[in-house]
């Protein structure tokens, strides 16, 4: 039977761990609320952007942007992987990386090279050996679009130069506080969604020229999608951490209960032993 003192110190240390996980759970819960608000606030921009781009896909434009043109051969593909900076958030990053690696393995089978840009230091650590060309870490809980533009530009430039022929975004989708879904979406070429088809032909008036405006718009479009993914990922991170810390707190509680039982049994056993020693000692004297 383990010594009483050892069990007592074990209980003490688990209690301390429980305090920490409880605190982390509460911090994550309050941060999640704010992250969700931010995610919802940024959604209209991405939605409207999508709407404008789909309008454009509908019109008969004089200038076809390269992002809307499918390339015939695919030699290299690019990935933008959005992960977290910190751990202790359950299987959030692990599931995401698994999904990305599957996708990358598929391309490798077709002997297509892969270039990767990552957001978040967890992703950088995981994908370093796969050829990371750009990274952006330590963005904090309130990522700002200006900080991301550089990383995105690396990939867009690579596409413009023909170094990559497709660009994918690997992100976590915030389904609800309990569920986050990793998913891979194609950014470039832009996948035409099902649109209401207009029956007449039209084109925009452009100010200044069409190329300038559409280039700007397309770049913004990609940036807004990535920004949305990063903001959403913060909300995912916080809710995943909240859930992970809650179960850690519960587990610590369970362990403490078990150890307490063990401690009391041991204490009782030692008392019983002591009494029986005294009794037998007294019997020997008589």
């Amino acid at each position: 039977m383990a010594g009483l003192k050892e069990i007592r110190s074990q209980i003490g240390s688990i209690q301390n761990t429980k305090k920490i996980t409880k605190a982390m759970e509460m911090v994550a819960a309050s941060k999640m609320r704010r992250a969700k608000e931010r995610m919802q606030a940024s959604r209209p921009y991405a939605d409207k952007m999508r709407q404008v781009v789909s309008h454009m896909a509908n019109g008969q434009l004089e200038y076809k942007h390269p992002y809307t043109q499918e390339r015939e051969t695919v030699k290299r593909v690019g990935y933008i992987i959005v992960s977290t900076d910190r751990g202790l958030c359950g299987g959030l990053n692990g599931n995401l990386f698994k999904k990305a690696l599957q996708d990358i393995a598929n391309w490798k089978e077709q002997s297509v090279d892969v270039e990767i840009a990552v957001f978040g230091s967890k992703g950088l650590a995981a994908f370093r050996r796969y050829g990371v060309v750009a990274d952006n870490i330590q963005m904090g809980d309130q990522p700002h679009i200006n900080d991301m533009v550089g990383t995105i530009k690396v990939m867009l430039d690579a596409y413009a130069k023909g170094e990559i022929d497709r660009l994918f975004l690997v992100e976590n989708e915030f389904v609800n506080s309990m569920t986050q879904q990793p998913k891979v979406t194609q950014l470039i070429p832009i996948v035409p969604s099902e649109l209401e088809v207009l029956n007449y032909q039209w084109d925009y008036l452009y100010e200044p020229e069409s190329k300038v405006v559409i280039d700007t718009l397309m770049t913004r479009y990609i940036e807004s999608l990535v920004y949305q993914a990063v903001v959403e990922n913060v909300a995912c991170e916080m809710s995943a951490r909240m859930v992970a810390m809650k179960s850690a707190t519960d587990n610590a509680g369970g362990m403490i209960d078990k150890l307490k039982l063990k401690y009391n049994k041991a204490r009782q056993a030692s008392i019983t032993q002591e009494i029986s020693e005294i009794v037998s000692g007294a019997a020997a004297v008589e």
Partner: protein
Amino acid sequence: MASTMHLDVVSAESALFSGDVTELFAPGEMGDLGIMPQHTQLITTLKAGELRYQTEEGENTSLFVAGGIMEVQPSVVTVLADTAIRAEDLDAEAAVAAKQRAEDALNGKDPEDLDYEAIQAELDAAKAQIEMIHRIGKTLR
């Protein structure tokens, strides 16, 4: 009854306005634009300046945009602003400080590593804000 069009003003961080308007003035890259309902399809980049619209009730509202893109369809107008601030939320002191900062940067001693375009854009945005604050200030008093 004047016809209306639907206007959406969104920036990356938030949605600022969504509703029906009867007319709209926007700071287009090539000059200010007045948009009425049933305007032909138009797409333009915006520069820093004032975005003003009139609602059905004849109420005028001003927003500050620091550049962006505007798409016009006959019945829908979408403004994708880089940054948009409600006129009453504009901070005069902050704008003046930003202008000063940009000017200092432009007159900085090390012209080699200056990002002229970025600073110029910042300066333009600050100037446009200050100008707008002055104009609103006048109409309020």
